[in-house]
Amino acid sequence: MKNKLKYFYSYTPLIVFLILVLFFARQLILKEDPSELPSVLIDEKFPSIILSELVGYKVFSNKNLINANGPSLVNIWSSWCVPCKVEHEYLMSMSNNYNIIIYGINYKDNKEDALKVLDLNGNPFYAIGADQDGMQSINLGVYGVPETFIIDRDGNIRYRHVGPILEYDMEKIILPIINKIKQERL
């Protein structure tokens, strides 16, 4: 009887170890990028932000996002951000071909440079505001450029996409979510 107890104790290290392995295996299988942050604002109202105008373009605030006619995107971009240039054509596609309303926040940028990019490459945005010191974007939990938020009709954040929206992202992630929102409350 006493020997059995000793027996049990000696298996403890092995059991603890195997539990650890389960956790490791899960991490490996998921293949997550450990430095990528999920947004904590999901399912919450888009925070109130104050943006400054870009000459020649309509500006917006969070009020535009509430009680809208449908889902919209808020895209944070800068003229000095290289992935933003790559994502631009897909933003144009979503705006022109899929008629998605995209609001742009120009992040910590020189207004002239931003205007130049829009003139040269086209404007996918329904309205644009500038967040020149980056403080407004902090309210959104933005930690890099580009980032894109999907907002539903009531002004709630449904998804945050980190990094550029490329073809795969557009087709497999962004558009499906937008369609899903459109189908709510038909």
């Binding site: 956790f23 293949k31 450990p34």
Partner: protein, 650 residues
């Protein structure tokens, strides 16, 4: 051609390692004397093959053979020779080859030094080492091959990150691996003991020296890494509780516990099952460290380019060796004969408490490092565990260990008499209280500074007191010298190592409590006074390096005794990767370091952002660690612990 030869030799080494695993195992099973005897030769050949394989890679680096993919990615024709060579192991594939080289080298060492071990035991140890070699060599050949060629080599090579071209960083991996792989030897010994079914005196006499060797290398390796981080990473810190640093610290904590428990096992023939378990766990921490660094499951500054498929392979290695070892332990350990008894208040008791504390410390570091993974799996939320956590829990954990450390050498084996001990504790207490208070009163400091100093003095006074008692301070000078010379080296080793810990604590305490941190913009020509040192920002000019351009500032430093020095902090920009780095300029001294970091140029003319750190006694951190390692080396040189001692009677 040479590279292909190296590749071939490695493949050959794999086959030989398979033999090194099978032959002795079969030999033990069927009691074939000749099979067991031939294992050593297989081990020697295996090492030679890996050595030449490794040398072929070194040759490729030295000759800057950029047709080899690894060399093209990690080396550059303009690198100095030393860094070309150290570039061999400055990447995932090459470092694994170094690991295997050291592994086979240790197998040879065991085979030679263990000539007089019982043949069955030696065979099982070499067999286990062979199996580990099989696992790692196949890992290299199947997932991380350093010998791959590319077809359109870049003429110059792409790897020229000057941050990595530092002497400390160059030799840090070899030392670290000598430590990790040393722990594989104690692991193999433990497996062998469990398989044989008994742990006799010969076994315990062997574990301690090998543990010491691994421990000394690990200690130096970690110190080198920390020293490099301090000098290169630009913010005056020397330890960040980063997952990769923790990955090397956990084996160290386990190895320290193992060191102390093997003393008990050797002297008193008890705690043997625990020692075996610790040896298995220590090596498992090494494998775990390899997993953390190379699999990409945790965020870290240091990680090699990570790859989940490699991570999976290492996880399998971990399951096989650790799982296998722990399973074997679970089955066999209860049947090991238990040893002699001791009362709680005794040398054994104190060492047991030491082990509990160090094991808890290792478990705590593991908990903190892996907690993000646990919470992510359970709650799907992201938390981060950083230095504030580790500092808050680790230091309180270590305090009792340090308190114990000073007077446990005064405790006798089996049971200690309390009265003498209490007298001595009180003496040491008063002495340390006095010295610590004196310093706080003179220089002013916080409660934590006081605690740190108190602990350091406690350790120094206690260790010196114990030394004086052993040598007999009351007798004549001649007897004193005689007894001092007759003291075994391991006794000196212990005292030196413990004093090293105290020096380390002083370094940590003083450099953080009395540190001066200045962050301000400085204009060209401006003079700043820090403590009794005058700094003048004399000049700034643009300089160019092979793949960077930088602003280099010039500071004239005048110390209190009038000596003049110059410091040149740089802020570099690498156009290829669009990265800015800071090269701090450090003036190191025994009693303080002056550390200048150049920041951005500011809007005002000739004005730059600077960070100046004045860290008193920070070098004592590395002196202390060095002293600890020297203590270990002293102990190793003790004749009694020389491998093979006492076997003539067998």
């Amino acid at each position: 051609m040479i590279i292909e030869l190296g590749h071939f030799l490695l493949a050959l080494a794999l086959s030989l390692s398979i033999f090194q695993f099978l032959v002795p195992a079969v030999g033990v099973k069927f009691n074939s004397h000749s099979m067991m005897k031939s294992t050593s030769i297989i081990a020697y050949m295996s090492f030679i093959l890996v050595l030449f394989s490794f040398l072929s890679l070194v040759y490729a680096y030295i000759t800057s053979d950029f047709s080899v993919s690894l060399v093209a990615k990690n080396s550059h024709s303009l690198k100095p020779l030393l860094y070309k060579i150290s570039g061999v192991w400055g990447n995932h594939e090459g470092s694994l080859l170094l690991w295997v080289l050291i592994l086979t080298f240790y197998s040879v060492a065991v085979a030679i030094l263990g000539r007089r071990l019982p043949l069955k035991l030696l065979s099982l140890v070499l067999s286990c080492q062979g199996l580990i070699a099989v696992a790692f060599i196949s890992f290299i050949l199947f997932t991380s091959n350093p010998f791959v060629r590319i077809f359109f080599p870049n003429a110059e090579g792409e790897g020229f990150n000057p941050i990595l071209q530092d002497f400390g960083l160059a030799i840090h991996p070899p030392f670290l691996y000598l430590g990790y792989v040393g722990l594989s030897v104690t692991f193999s010994f433990s497996i062998a003991a469990l398989l044989v079914g008994k742990v006799d005196t010969i076994w315990v006499k062997w574990v301690r020296p090998w543990t010491l060797i691994a421990w000394v290398f690990l200690t130096i390796g970690i110190a080198l890494g920390s020293w490099w981080a301090y000098r290169e990473l630009g913010w005056g810190g020397w330890w960040f509780w980063d997952p990769v640093e923790n990955a090397s610290f956990m084996p160290w904590l386990a190895a320290t516990a193992l060191l102390h428990s093997s003393i008990v096992a050797e002297k008193r023939d008890t705690l043997k099952a625990w020692t075996i378990l610790l040896a298995i766990i220590a090596f498992s921490f090494c494998l775990l460290g390899t997993f953390i660094v190379r699999s990409g499951v945790l965020v870290s500054v240091h990680a090699f380019a990570s790859d989940p498929s490699r991570g999976l392979y290492i996880l399998l290695l971990l399951v096989f060796f650790t799982g296998g070892g722990l399973a074997l332990f679970a089955k066999r350990a209860p049947y090991l004969k238990s040893g002699s008894l001791f009362k709680p208040l005794s040398r054994e008791g104190a060492l047991v408490i030491n082990n509990i504390i160090f094991a808890s410390a290792a478990a705590t570091v593991l908990l903190g490092t892996l907690y993000p993974i646990f919470i992510d799996a359970i709650n799907n939320s992201k938390v981060s565990v950083g230095p504030p956590y580790f500092e808050a829990v680790f230091i309180p954990l270590m305090v009792p260990a340090i308190l114990l450390c000073a007077f446990s050498p005064m405790l006798s084996w089996k049971r200690a008499i309390i009265d003498n001990i209490i007298e001595r504790i009180i003496a040491v207490f008063i002495c340390s209280l006095f010295l610590a208070s004196l310093i706080i009163i003179i220089y002013g400091g916080s409660a934590s500074a006081f605690l740190g100093l108190f602990l350091a003095f406690w350790l120094i006074c206690g260790t010196l007191y114990e030394f004086l008692i052993k040598v007999g301070v009351k007798s004549s000078f001649k007897t004193f010298i005689q007894r001092a010379l007759n003291l075994p080296r391991s006794a000196y080793g212990m005292s030196v190592a413990h004093i090293g810990v105290a020096i380390f604590i002083i370094g940590v305490t003083v450099s953080s409590a009395w540190r001066i941190d200045i962050e301000k913009p400085i204009i060209l020509g401006e003079k700043i006074i820090v403590k009794d040192i005058e700094l003048t920002f004399k000049n700034i000019k643009k300089v160019e390096g092979p793949n960077w351009n930088a602003d280099r500032g010039e500071f004239e430093i005048i110390t209190s005794n009038g000596a003049k020095h110059f410091l040149y902090p740089e802020r570099r920009f690498y156009p290829a990767s669009q990265v800015n780095t800071s090269e701090p300029a450090i003036m190191s001294g025994i009693f303080s370091d002056l550390y200048i970091v150049l920041g951005e140029s500011l809007q005002e003319e000739d004005s730059f952002a600077f960070r100046i750190y004045y860290s008193p006694f920070i070098s004592w951190i590395w002196f202390g660690i060095l002293l600890m390692a020297m203590g270990g080396i002293l102990s190793l040189s003790d004749r009694k612990h020389r491998l093979g001692y006492g076997l003539k009677q067998v």
